[in-house]
C-alpha cells in the first residue's frame, strides 16, 4: 500500500514563486530562508519527487524455526556482564524473542543518536521511538497487524474476547520477569481505581459497556467484552489508550496502557502500605499527594528508575535540558543473527527553545535523524545544505486527506444567519469549490502535497475510491457562484461581496486558526480568504493561541476552524478529526459530540439527517468484522465528502513529521516510511535496527 507514486506536477510554479517567498517568510522567522526560496525552490521542484522513495522497512520473522539460537550483545553490556553486574545475554532476551530482519543488513553496535526536542510537552518525540512496547503493532506498511509484546493473539469467533500470549522469559528492564500478573495489576489496582482512572476508557469498551481482563496463566491474558468487539484487535495494535504501550499511555498524567511493572509501582499505592505512608513519600518529593506522585513515578520520561520494556530507557529525564535514553539491557528484540537490539547505545535529545533554532541545527548537521518539528517550508534550505551538513532529506507523505481542513461547526447558533448557511449543504459545497487547492499546495506544501477532499489515501481499505478525493474539491468558481445565487445569496454589495439575507450587511465567515500548528494554518486561511473573493464570500481570519482555539470550540463559539485531519486515515482508531464524537475535540460541533458520547442524555442532536446517519454507521462498526467494517468506513467517508461538513484542501503530504533529515552515517534507514499516528512514525521502521556505519 501507499507505494503509489505521488501525482507530481509543477503548475504555474513561477506565478506562485513571489507569493511563496512572502508566505514562507511569514511562516518562518529565519532570515535567509525566505530569501533563498526563489532559486533553491526551482531546483527542488525537480528533486522534490525524488525525495519520496520506495516504502520499505524491516520485517519480523514469525517462524520460530528460523529464529537464531545463539545471542550476542553490545560491547557496553558485555563489559557489565564481565563485571558480574548483568546476567549473560541468553538469560536476558526472552526464550521467544522478537526477531527482526533489518532492512539492509546486520548493523554495528554503538553511537549516540542526536536529536532535538522542544521541552516537557514533547513526550511524543521519544514515545514514538520506543513504541515497540505495544501489545500488537503494524508492519512497516502500516496495514498488517504484527505481534509485538504479545507473541500471538486470537480473537474468538463471536468477537467477544481476544486472548494474547506473552513471550516466555521476557523481562522488565530491571531483570524482573514480565508476566500476566502485570496486566492484572494494571487492571485491578490502577484502571479500576477511581482516584487514578475516574471513568472507564472508551478504548476498553464495547458500545457502552466496559471490558475486562483476566489472567489464564502466567503467559496468557484474555480481554473480554459483553458485546461483540471485532475492532479490538485493531485497538490493541493502534495508538490507543489500551494498546498504545506502557511508555506512551502511562506518561504525562495518564493511567492506561494495559500493563504496568507491578513490583515497582506497588510501593506508591496506598493499598500496599497506607495512605499516610504514600502521601508522606509524595510530600517529601514535593508533590501535593500520592496521586500526582505515582503518576510521575510511572512516567517513563520522568523516572529513570521505572522498569520498562522499550528498546531504550530514560537516563536523563525530559524535564532537563537534555533528554537522554540508553539501551535497555533486557530488550526483547534481536536481529536474524541473534544480536540483541538496539544497535545504537544512546539517544540524546537537546532542548531547543524554539522551532527555528531546531531547524537551523538540523540544517547545520547537528542531528543524526530528525523527522519531528522539521518544517516542509524549509525544504529548500535543507537541500541547499545537504553536503555541508552531511545529511540527506527524505519525504514521507502521510495518508490523511487534508493537512488544513475547514471544519464547519454543525451545532453553531450564536449568529442565526451564519448558522443557517453553515448548515446548508450547497453553501458548504460552494465554499469548497471556491478554493484553489493547487495554489495552496505550491505555496505552503512546496508542491509535494495532493489537492483534494478530506478522504484518506486511496491505497487504504477505508478509502471510498479515488473519485471521492476530487468530489466538490476542485476549483470551480462558476458552479460555486451558481450554487450561492440559487441558495438565495444573490445580492452583493459595492465590493462584490454577498449580503446577508437578514439585511444586516455583508455575510462574514469567521475562520479560526491556531498559532504554532505544524502547517501554517493562519497563512493558508488568509490565502483562502483571497480566493473566496471570487465567489463573493468574505472570510475573517482569526488567529489565536492553541488553548484558546480549543476553549472556543468546546464552548461552541467557532464558525469554521482550521485543523489537520491527521489520524482520520484509520477512521476507527482515531475518528475525532473526521466526526464529532468526542467532546474534548469536536471541531464539527461540541454539542453534537456531547449528544453522541452521552447516548443522547446531554448535548444536542444534529439536525442534519446525513450527520445522524454517519454517526449511527460509526457506532455500529465495532461489532462488525473487518471487511464489513471497511465498507462502513467507506460509507461514512462518502457522506462526509458529499456533505462537505469538513472542507479538505491539501493532504497526503509530508508536512507533519514527514520531512526526515538523515545523517549519511546511519544505516538501515528506509527511503520512505509510513507516516501515520497508528504506525508511530518512525517506530514502524524499528529504530532499534538503525546503526552507525563505521
Amino acid at each position: 500500500m501507499a507505494t503509489k507514486p505521488q501525482k507530481w506536477s509543477r503548475r504555474e510554479f513561477l506565478r506562485d514563486a513571489a507569493l511563496t517567498a512572502g508566505a514562507v517568510g511569514a511562516a518562518s522567522a529565519l532570515p535567509g530562508l525566505a530569501g533563498v526560496g526563489g532559486t533553491a525552490r526551482a531546483q527542488e521542484a525537480k528533486i522534490g519527487a525524488q525525495l519520496i522513495g520506495k516504502l520499505e522497512g524491516p520485517e519480523l520473522i514469525l517462524d520460530a524455526a528460523k529464529w537464531p539460537k545463539k545471542f550476542a550483545e553490545a560491547p557496553m553490556l558485555a563489559d557489565l556482564v564481565k563485571q558480574g553486574k548483568l546476567p549473560p545475554v541468553e538469560k536476558r532476551v526472552p526464550d521467544e524473542p522478537m526477531v527482526v530482519k533489518p532492512l539492509h543488513g546486520i548493523g554495528r553496535y554503538g553511537g549516540t543518536w542526536r536529536r532535538g526536542f522542544t521541552g516537557p510537552g514533547d513526550g511524543e518525540n521519544g514515545n514514538r521511538i520506543v513504541s515497540t512496547d505495544k501489545i500488537l503493532f503494524w508492519d512497516y506498511t502500516g496495514t498488517k497487524i504484527m505481534p509485538c509484546v504479545a507473541r500471538e493473539w486470537k480473537q474468538s469467533d463471536d468477537g467477544k474476547s481476544v486472548t494474547i500470549s506473552l513471550r516466555k522469559g521476557q523481562k522488565w528492564s530491571d531483570g524482573t520477569p514480565f508476566t500476566a500478573n502485570d496486566f492484572v495489576f494494571w487492571h485491578e489496582e490502577v484502571y479500576l481505581n477511581k482516584d487514578l482512572q475516574p471513568t472507564p476508557h472508551p478504548d476498553f469498551m464495547a458500545g457502552t459497556k466496559s471490558g475486562s481482563l483476566r489472567k489464564i496463566d502466567d503467559a496468557t491474558v484474555i480481554f473480554e467484552f459483553q458485546d461483540p468487539n471485532f475492532l479490538f484487535v485493531d485497538i490493541l495494535a493502534g495508538s490507543t489508550a489500551i494498546g498504545g504501550g506502557q511508555a506512551t499511555q502511562s506518561m504525562d498524567k495518564r493511567s492506561m496502557g494495559a500493563y504496568m511493572p507491578a513490583h515497582y509501582v506497588k510501593q506508591f499505592l496506598p493499598k500496599f502500605s497506607s495512605k499516610d505512608e504514600v502521601d508522606r513519600k509524595a510530600k517529601a518529593a514535593g508533590f501535593d499527594g500520592w496521586v500526582s506522585y505515582i503518576k510521575s513515578r510511572w512516567d517513563w520520561r520522568l523516572n529513570p528508575d521505572l522498569p520498562v520494556l522499550t528498546p531504550w530507557k530514560t537516563v536523563s529525564p525530559i524535564n532537563t535540558p537534555t533528554w537522554v535514553l540508553e539501551r535497555n539491557p533486557f530488550y526483547m528484540g534481536v536481529d536474524t543473527q541473534g544480536n540483541q537490539l538496539p544497535y545504537i547505545d544512546r539517544i540524546s535529545m537537546t532542548l531547543a527553545e524554539n522551532l527555528e533554532v531546531l531547524n537551523l541545527r538540523a540544517i547545520a548537521g547537528q542531528y543524526d535523524l530528525q523527522e519531528r518539528h522539521t518544517g516542509l517550508a524549509k525544504l529548500p534550505v535543507f537541500l541547499e545544505n545537504r553536503a555541508k551538513g552531511g545529511y540527506d532529506v527524505r519525504l514521507d507523505p502521510a495518508l490523511n486527506g487534508s493537512d488544513a481542513t475547514l471544519q464547519t461547526n454543525q451545532a453553531y447558533e450564536a449568529d442565526p444567519e451564519v448558522a443557517r448557511w453553515l448548515h446548508t449543504r450547497d453553501f458548504r459545497r460552494a465554499l469548497a469549490m471556491g478554493i484553489d487547492r493547487d495554489q495552496l499546495n505550491e505555496t505552503f506544501w512546496v508542491g509535494v502535497g495532493t489537492a483534494g477532499s478530506v478522504a484518506p489515501a486511496e491505497t487504504l481499505p477505508y478509502s471510498p475510491g479515488p473519485e471521492w478525493r476530487k468530489k466538490w474539491s476542485t476549483l470551480d468558481v462558476k458552479q460555486a457562484n451558481a450554487l450561492l445565487d440559487k441558495a438565495g445569496l444573490d445580492k452583493k454589495d459595492g465590493e462584490g461581496y454577498r449580503l446577508r439575507t437578514d439585511g444586516k450587511g455583508r455575510l462574514r465567515l469567521e475562520l479560526q486558526t491556531s498559532a504554532g500548528a505544524f502547517v501554517p494554518h493562519t497563512q493558508i486561511a488568509e490565502m483562502i480568504k483571497e480566493q473566496w473573493k471570487k465567489i463573493g464570500i468574505q472570510g475573517d481570519v482569526k488567529e489565536m493561541e492553541r488553548s484558546l482555539f480549543f476553549t472556543r470550540i468546546a464552548s461552541n463559539e467557532h464558525q469554521i476552524a482550521l485543523w489537520a485531519n491527521d489520524g482520520s486515515e484509520v477512521l476507527y482508531l482515531f475518528p475525532r478529526h473526521a466526526l464529532p464524537l468526542d467532546p474534548v475535540e469536536a471541531l464539527l460541533g461540541t454539542p453534537i459530540a456531547r449528544w453522541y458520547a452521552s447516548n443522547g442524555a446531554q448535548g444536542k442532536a444534529p439536525k442534519d439527517p446525513q450527520m445522524v446517519k454517519a454517526l449511527d454507521l460509526f457506532r455500529s462498526a465495532a461489532g462488525k468484522k473487518t471487511q464489513e467494517r471497511y465498507k462502513v468506513a467507506q460509507e461514512i467517508w462518502k457522506i462526509l465528502v458529499d456533505e462537505q461538513y469538513s472542507i479538505g484542501t491539501v493532504g497526503l503530504s509530508p508536512a507533519t513529521m514527514g520531512v526526515r533529515i538523515v545523517s549519511n552515517k546511519l544505516g538501515n534507514i528506509p527511503s520512505r516510511q509510513t507516516n501515520a499516528q497508528h504506525a508511530r512514525t518512525p517506530c514502524s521502521s524499528h529504530p532499534a535496527t538503525f546503526y552507525y556505519k563505521a
Binding site: H201, D288, L351, R361, A364
Partner: protein, 330 residues
C-alpha cells in the same frame, strides 16, 4: 536616615505582595486553565483526554477551586519557601527555576559588563570630542543598535555564524559538553559561547547608554564649574573624569533598579531565538501553558528583584551624588 530606610522596607514588602496578587490574577485572566492547555497539547500530539479525566485532573491540581483559594494555597507554599509544583515539568518550581537561574545570571552579567565597558568610554569620548569623526561613527552605530530589534540581530548573526563560520547554533554549550559535569573544559566552552548572546543582549542597551552618557556629559561640560576648573590648570583628564562624569553617571545609578530583574529574566525574545537555557523562555512557556505556579513564581521573583534593585539604586545615588545626601540630612 534609619526611619527613611524602614519606611522604604515596609513599602517594599507591600509592593511585593501587590505584585504577587496582580501576577496571579493576570495569569488567570485568559480563558481556560492549565488543564485546557494540556488537553490542547495532547490533541495536537494525537492523544486522548476524556472530559471526566480532565475534571479529575482539575481536582487533583485544585484548579476547580475559586481563584482566591488557589492564591492562598500558593501563598502558603511561598511562605514555606516551596513555591509549588511546575505543572508541565512535573518538578518543584524552585528546581526548575534554579537550574536556569545562574546561567541566566552569567549571560546577563556578561551583557551588562559589556554594555558598561563599551558605553561609558564611548559616551565620554563622544561628548568630549563632539562632532568629530569618532563621534559621528559612534552615533551612527549607536542609532543602528537602537533601531534594530535585538531578536532580528540574533537571527541574522546566528545564520551568519552558521553560514560563514560553521558555528554551533544557539545554546550555551556544545552538544558533547551540555550533559557533562562541571570541569574547566565546560567552563571554557561556556565562555566561548558567551560573546554572541552577550553582544546581542547588550547592544541595544549600549547604544542607549552611549546616547544618555553623551547628552548628560554635554550638559555638564558647558557648566561654569568646568570652565573654572580648567582655568585653574587642572589636567584635562581630571577635569572631566572627577566632576562632570560623576554627575553624568546619575542616570546610570537610577537604572540599576531595572538591571536586577533583567539579570534574572534576560530578554525573553532573544533568549528564545538563541535557544538559551535561561529563565526567559521558561516564563513564556509557563504563561502559554497557564502554569500559574511557575509563571507566578517567576513574576514574583522579578517583582522582588525590581524592588530590591530600586532600593539599591537609591543607596547608590546617595553615594554618588552629594546633593542628594545633603537633602537627606535636612
Amino acid at each position: 536616615m534609619l526611619a527613611y530606610l524602614g519606611r522604604r522596607l515596609i513599602l517594599a514588602v507591600l509592593t511585593v505582595w501587590a505584585v504577587s496578587v496582580l501576577s496571579f490574577v493576570v495569569i488567570q485572566l485568559p480563558p481556560g486553565d492549565y488543564i485546557s492547555s494540556y488537553i490542547a497539547q495532547m490533541s495536537a500530539s494525537g492523544s486522548f483526554v476524556s472530559a471526566q479525566e480532565a475534571e479529575a485532573l482539575r481536582q487533583q491540581y485544585g484548579l476547580d477551586k475559586p481563584v482566591y483559594v488557589q492564591y492562598l494555597r500558593w501563598m502558603r507554599l511561598v511562605v514555606q519557601g516551596k513555591f509549588g509544583m511546575a505543572l508541565e515539568w512535573g518538578r518543584p518550581v524552585s528546581e526548575v527555576i534554579g537550574d536556569r537561574l545562574w546561567l541566566t545570571m552569567v549571560v546577563s552579567v556578561a551583557a551588562i559588563i559589556l554594555t558598561w565597558a563599551l558605553a561609558l568610554p564611548i559616551g565620554i569620548y563622544s561628548a568630549v570630542r563632539q562632532y568629530s569623526v569618532g563621534d559621528y561613527v559612534a552615533t551612527f552605530i549607536g542609532f543602528i543598535g537602537l533601531a534594530v530589534p535585538s531578536f532580528m540581530l540574533a537571527l541574522v548573526l546566528m545564520y551568519a555564524g552558521f553560514k560563514l563560520f560553521n558555528m554551533n547554533v544557539g545554546g550555551l554549550f556544545s552538544d558533547e559538553l551540555a550533559q557533562a559535569p562541571w570541569s574547566w573544559a565546560k567552563a571554557w566552552d561556556l565562555i566561548k559561547h558567551l560573546p554572541l548572546p552577550a553582544v546581542i543582549l547588550g547592544l541595544a542597551g549600549t547604544a542607549q547608554l552611549i546616547r544618555i552618557m553623551r547628552a548628560n556629559l554635554l550638559d555638564e561640560l558647558r557648566k561654569p564649574y568646568v570652565v573654572s576648573a580648567r582655568a585653574r590648570g587642572l589636567s584635562e583628564r581630571r577635569v572631566i573624569l572627577k566632576y562632570p562624569v560623576r554627575v553624568a553617571l546619575n542616570p546610570f545609578a537610577s537604572t540599576v533598579g531595572y538591571l536586577l530583574p533583567y539579570v534574572v529574566s534576560g530578554s525573553i525574545i532573544v533568549s528564545l531565538v538563541l535557544s538559551l537555557p535561561t529563565v526567559g523562555p521558561l516564563l513564556l512557556r509557563a504563561l502559554i501553558a497557564q502554569d500559574m505556579f511557575l509563571a507566578g513564581t517567576i513574576v514574583l521573583l522579578l517583582g522582588v528583584m525590581t524592588v530590591v534593585g530600586t532600593f539599591v539604586s537609591d543607596l547608590l545615588l546617595l553615594w554618588i551624588d552629594p546633593r542628594i545626601r545633603l537633602e537627606g540630612r535636612k
